[in-house]
């Protein structure tokens, strides 16, 4: 049995699956990174993923085009985030409460609307989906070809977005403004940075990323929407963001680690090897608690995370 387990762990197909499965989590993690770097705690990632998944499926169903579906998913994620940012930034709603509200609203709306659209409460009919692509030369290379030679286009776009997001956050003036807003909004304001704009921008960008990740779940993979299909991936993204130190690339690394454990667990389950799979599924969450409690590396969230800021008068 141990040989079989090792064979699964060191299997290129497991790695292939892990990269695929990390897509929505890494995108949610980057969404969380942008939002939290600008000082807004974003518990609503889960809901934004779910809305993206639903809108992606509806768009694909209505137009027959998976590309248009994906765009609708991105737009819906951004719109959900816009509601969240208006309430947290303009109306100074408690970030955590508003985030919980967004998650419940997203679950209610998508479950309700799927019955309006498809008259079913479980799983939608099949809609047009984005097919996996084979990269001509890379897929012929022995090891790398098996890992990323044949993948969903979402995976490649995700990797490009992560790199782009890292550049934006750490190598551009806008990124500096975002980070400054989350660290010290008063100082940022003094320097003429529009703190409110930066917060809205970062949260909505994060929502668009979640919308894209959600669209991957529904039309990038199985080509259907099912009730509550985000299934905790937004919370996992929240964990990956912390694990990755509020950095998109770190978030991707954490997401891949989490997904790798998950992929191993799923493959073992299909082989009917009786490993306690719930215990394996717990690992990401346990690791995050250990990280947060300062056991492994020093983690430090943005200094003004969760605070409200109003120009010219206190927090």
């Amino acid at each position: 049995m141990w040989l079989e387990i090792l064979a699964v762990i060191f299997n290129l197909r497991t790695l292939n699956a892990a990269i695929r499965m990390s897509t929505p989590i890494a995108l949610a993690a980057m969404g969380g990174a942008f939002s939290e770097r600008a000082g807004v705690i974003n518990i609503g990632l889960e809901g934004m993923l779910l809305v993206g998944a639903f809108a992606g499926a509806v768009g694909s169903y209505a137009t027959g085009s998976a590309l248009l579906g994906t765009l609708l998913g991105v737009a819906a994620g951004a719109a959900t985030a816009a509601v969240f940012s208006i309430f947290t930034v303009e109306f100074r709603a408690n970030h955590v409460v508003a985030g919980v509200g967004i998650n419940i609203l997203a679950l209610g709306l998508t479950t309700w609307l799927m019955q309006v659209v498809w008259r079913t409460r479980g799983i939608s009919p099949a809609v047009a989906r984005v097919q996996s692509i084979r990269i001509p030369l890379i897929s012929d290379i022995p090891v790398i070809g098996q890992v990323i030679g044949v993948q969903s286009p979402f995976v490649f776009v995700m990797i490009a977005l992560i790199v782009g997001g890292w550049v934006l956050l750490f190598r551009t003036p806008l990124g500096l403004r975002i980070r400054m807003t989350g660290e010290h909004p008063e100082a940022a304001d003094t320097l003429g940075i529009n703190v409110r704009f930066i917060k809205h921008f970062s949260v909505i960008l994060g929502g668009a990323l979640c919308g894209f990740g959600g669209a991957y779940l529904s039309i990038g993979n199985i080509g259907r929407f099912s009730m509550g299909m985000s299934a905790g991936r937004g919370f996992m993204g929240l964990a990956a963001n912390i694990f990755g130190q509020w950095n998109p690339i770190g978030g991707l690394g954490a997401s891949m680690l989490f997904s790798y454990a998950d992929a191993v667990q799923i493959r073992l389950q299909t082989m009917e090897i009786a490993l306690p799979h719930q215990i394996i599924q717990m690992i990401p969450y346990l690791l995050t608690i250990v990280i947060l409690a300062g056991g492994v590396v020093k983690s430090r969230p943005p200094a003004a995370l969760g605070n409200h800021y109003r120009s010219g008068g206190g927090t």
């Binding site: 709603a93 509200g101 967004i102 419940i104 309700w112 964990a239 719930q278 346990l286």
Partner: protein
């Protein structure tokens, strides 16, 4: 009335308490008014949604109201569904008072439910009050232990209780599923325990309706919580830490001890919520059973604005939405999940008192309250 604390950093409770009793009444009424306004607004937005999709709004709300309050059966259903939410509402509200956010009620509820079911499997032959009481005690203890963890992590390492609680929620769901499927699984496809002993089933207060004594326990708890915060030294310490941990520390209160206790006490409530669901609805532990009682508890606490009786009212409202939703689906042919939309809207609106105030002001400029902060 001027309040200097930022009203929005903490949803309720943790805010400064008014000095005189007439002011207390007035402020409670303002809070109640804001919550009521949020509910009305959420119902209006949902109505607009229904109109857009071509549904009959009048019929929808009429059948919802009838379903929730129109018959003895409806009222019992409302109370039955309100019961777990009452407890998870307190799980969140108690921690709020000490300035902490217990988003981990969901996980505490699972441990409470599992502990309760395991004890309730073994209480054969005991008189009913003990056969019901012991499992509930186990539920409370399990909830306390799991709930105290984020409090300890916060006190010892400064780890934010919101994030650790969210992680602990997932861990609790996986762990209880694992324990059930591996050690206590009843034969069959579902990961669930055997049926609990008959004596441990919570007695019904209106026979035939399914409404159990859990709701009475809930009301008793509300009185207990009101007494705790109004008349005990520990309750006063909770609120002192909630208002200003540094000042409380200066005054000789160990804020770390209070943080652990507040999360633990919240955990007791959530654990008992899980226990009551097991003893009065499921009669066994079922893996993954909760439709989000813990998360709705956050809504209940926020809507109740930290006031124990406000929490009772809010739990009743959510119970009514739940039971009314069923009859809305039946008579108006509108999927009952619309009530979840209403819940989500209520939470978001209540989270932003500034938004509600702005809207009230815009409508009636004369009763403009003193701008806060």
């Amino acid at each position: 009335m001027t309040r200097k604390t930022d009203e929005t950093t903490l949803p309720a409770g943790a805010r400064s308490r008014p000095s005189s009793s007439s002011e207390a009444v007035r402020s409670a009424l303002t809070e109640l008014g804001l919550s009521a306004f949020a509910i009305v607004l959420a119902l209006v937005i949902s109505a607009l949604l229904m109109v857009t999709l071509g549904y009959n709004v009048a019929l929808a709300y009429q059948s919802m109201f009838r379903g929730a309050f129109g018959s003895l059966h409806g009222i019992s259903q409302t109370l039955l569904r309100a019961t777990p939410l009452l407890f998870t509402g307190f799980a969140v509200a108690i921690a709020f008072r000490a300035g902490l956010f217990n988003i981990g009620a969901e996980g505490q509820l699972y441990w409470g439910a599992l502990a309760c079911a395991l004890v309730a499997l073994t209480v054969e032959g005991l008189p009913q009050p003990i056969a019901v009481g012991l499992p509930l005690l186990a539920a409370g203890i399990a909830g306390f232990l799991w709930g105290a963890v984020p409090g300890i992590l916060k006190a010892k390492t400064g780890a934010h209780e919101v994030i650790t609680s969210i992680m602990l929620n997932s861990i609790a769901i996986f762990a209880t599923t694992h324990i059930t499927s591996r050690y206590f699984k009843a034969p069959g496809a579902v990961d669930q325990t055997e049926r609990i002993v008959a004596a441990a089933v919570m007695p019904q207060i209106i026979p035939g309706t399914g409404l159990t004594a859990g709701i009475l326990l809930g009301v008793a708890i509300a009185a207990l919580v009101a007494w705790f915060f109004g008349h005990t030294a520990l309750g006063y310490d909770f609120q002192a830490v909630g208002r200003n941990a540094d000042a409380a520390e200066y005054g000789g209160v160990s804020s770390k001890r209070i943080q652990v206790l507040a999360m633990g006490f919240g955990g007791i409530m959530a654990g008992v919520a899980g226990g009551i669901v097991v003893l009065s609805l499921l009669n066994r532990f079922v893996a993954n059973f909760s439709p989000g009682y813990g998360f709705t508890g956050i809504a209940v606490a926020v809507l109740g604005r930290g006031n124990p009786w406000g929490v009772v009212l809010a739990a009743l409202l959510f119970g009514a939405l739940d039971s009314g939703g069923m009859s809305m689906q039946l008579f108006a042919r509108i999927p009952s999940d619309l009530t979840i939309v209403v819940q989500g809207l209520v939470i978001i609106l209540v989270a932003a008192p500034a938004a509600l105030r702005a809207m009230v002001r815009w409508r009636k400029p004369k009763v403009e309250p003193v701008d806060v902060a």
